[in-house]
Subunit: 402 residues, 2 copies
């Protein structure tokens, strides 16, 4: 279907603005029976809903709780299953690392092994994040492999990411996690006949050998398990697929990385939500499509803080008049996934979406919220179908067939 869309493109200089409120979707508070979005006083979002149409999107599929990577790929019009990106690459992007075509990334789990070399804890007792940072830095400074540039970066707790940079590396190699305790870690093996895979396996096994030496006196994190090896293999760019010059305004490395992956121009890190909106006029000036990401809604949801999520939504609503001043032919507001404060985590629930502008059908929805969105003119659909409808609404798609 994305080939059909690409074949119908024509440029008419219209501009699209996509506001992603991370983890937007919520669940109703049992007393008020209203979600975070329904509780928040959001006069501008409500007016936009009444001037446009609302609906609900499923990021990956019904019942699937997505991570930020596939959820954003779907928002950007990619198939989050078939066009998904290797886990190692997502971890590297999330850790703020830039990747090149010479790089292969892998996820590290620090683990504990006994004197027989068998794994006794696959997560090294879930060491604290500071501990994780300390041992990651030991590896970053200690491991030396000829001709290979190495970056090791801690994530949370026992998790870290390693990027191997050298000519001729390939990502088609196996994981080392034995998946159960009581067994020794596996060796990294090439999964294809490709010379890059053989070379990568050698390099990774040497990395593990040296890591064991460096960590041998650690009580908990005395072993590394590597998994999710992946080279930098970006999908067709946003411009190739949708004919749009795109710009991204986002505070967190993961989202800037995802925008880079699809070839968007990425604005520098912003200190606040307000600063993000301040960048809008410049971003819209020389792009056809601007993606602005607000992370704080998700963080409040993850913390189980219903009230803080409400208050962040109200803060964002107060900044929306700047969007109207900046001018865009179509405004879309949605989330990458739901993060109900009641669940303290990402969830599988569909996410409210709002279209305002272009040839969007104006429906009877008078407010922006989960309940109203169920009756909106956009209906319920997979997130990856946002982009074709956005292009259609601004008149960028020719007719299909005579």
């Amino acid at each position: 279907m994305s080939d059909v869309v690409t074949s119908l493109l024509h440029d008419n200089h219209t501009k699209i603005f996509l506001l992603v409120l991370d983890g937007l979707g919520g669940l109703p508070d049992p007393r008020s029976r209203q979600t975070e979005l329904e509780t928040a006083k959001t006069p501008t979002l409500d007016r936009w809903a009444s001037e446009g149409a609302t609906g609900l999107v499923d990021p990956v599929g019904r019942g699937i709780t997505p991570g930020s990577g596939p959820a954003h790929l779907a928002l950007f019009g990619y198939d989050p299953i078939s066009e998904n990106v290797g886990r190692g690459v997502l971890s590297a992007l999330g850790a703020g690392l830039e990747m090149t075509s010479r790089d292969v990334a892998a996820r590290i789990n620090f683990a504990t092994r006994d004197e027989n070399g068998e794994i006794v804890d696959r997560r090294a007792g879930r060491i604290a994040s500071e501990e994780g940072r300390r041992v990651a830095e030991l590896l970053a400074s200690g491991v030396k492999i000829d001709g290979v540039e190495l970056t090791v970066r801690a994530e949370k707790e026992h998790r870290a990411v390693v990027v191997f940079r050298a000519d001729g590396l390939g990502g088609d190699v196996s994981d080392t996690d034995p998946q159960v305790t009581g067994l020794p870690p596996l060796e990294v093996r090439p999964l294809t006949d490709d010379a890059g895979a053989s070379r990568m396996a050698e390099v990774a096994n040497e990395f593990i050998r040296q890591a064991r030496g460096i960590l041998k006196n650690e009580k908990e994190a005395n072993e590394v398990l590597l998994r999710g090896f992946a080279g930098w293999d970006p999908p067709p760019s946003f411009r190739e697929r949708f004919g749009l010059r795109a710009a991204a305004v986002a505070m967190y490395p993961m989202y800037r990385g995802l925008a880079t992956l699809v070839g968007m121009r990425v604005f520098p890190e912003m200190p606040s939500i307000e600063a993000e909106f301040d960048a809008l006029p410049e971003a819209l000036a020389d792009a056809d499509f601007v993606y602005l990401h607000v992370k704080q809604t998700d963080s409040a949801g993850e913390d189980g803080d219903f009230g803080r999520k409400v208050s962040i939504l109200e803060t964002v609503d107060g900044l929306l008049p700047r969007v109207e001043e900046a001018g865009a032919d179509l405004v879309i507001v949605t989330g990458d996934h739901s993060t109900p404060a009641l669940m303290k985590s990402h969830s599988w629930h569909p996410v409210p979406i709002l279209f305002r502008g272009g040839t969007t059908y104006r429906d009877e929805t008078e407010s922006f919220g989960e309940t109203a969105a169920r009756r909106g003119a956009l209906g319920r659909f997979p997130s990856r179908e946002i982009m074709p409808q956005a292009l259609a609404a601004v008149g960028r798609l020719n007719r299909f067939g005579a």
Copy 2:
């Protein structure tokens, strides 16, 4: 999926009537906030909606504005992307030409070229339709190719269609339109090793050579650009796929051609909408499935005439008691696509649909319109899924699996 449906068929002598109101779907008038269909007084459609169920269909996919060809194939239960028909064939059908398996059709754009042979206007100044007819007739009577029977028929303005009839022609050849001005036209080249493609390329290039001679003194239309070559390669017939003897009642050549393509019995051209409905008893007498096409709703939408579209809908509604008299076990009313008067063109918006009869779930919908249809029991689904649900509603599909 269509193979599964075919495998479950059994004939129970029930009859299905499909009424296609071309371009049915609309957008709300900003003052009344009602669409054309919602504005029209349609007591019979409203009663049918209250006796049956409504919903919304997407002809090709969200965001895709379809032409009549793919939109009708979807209504007839074919995949409008993978089973789509070549552009040349659709143009030939639209021009009222009958095709055989010995034919290859191509679209012609009359164009202007300068003394260096470079294209200066790919549409010959969008010559008037009478001018287009005049030059098309010059070609029809002037070009002679040994062993090839030629038909040239004008469409609108600078567009025409040519059908080459001979043994051993194949449609896999390239277009000649250079897509930009300042370049000479391309040669027709075979795209496969197939002998039919080589022969077709020779014939087409000879056609172009002679056409240049015939048109050399024309000021504007002194060149022909050929594109969309396609042989007559119909999909499995409606009867093979759905076990239904089908008849088509339609006033315009394109729709009669599409019905021919899937093997329907096609009634002769009718002078009016009323005459179309008069043909119903005869059509239903010896067919299991009757398709009746009303073109005027689309034409009014294309003209931006909201009031005329409303009034045609009211005219059609007044004829519907004849459908009840003629008797059919299931009546379906929908459109091939939306043509909102506010847009003066086909659009990407979903189209209302109504099922009445058989085991259709009777929902709470009390009127037939876009807003009510969003809450109807049929929900929202792709047009190509109408046929399986129609067969199911009249009990023509066996159980799948034990």
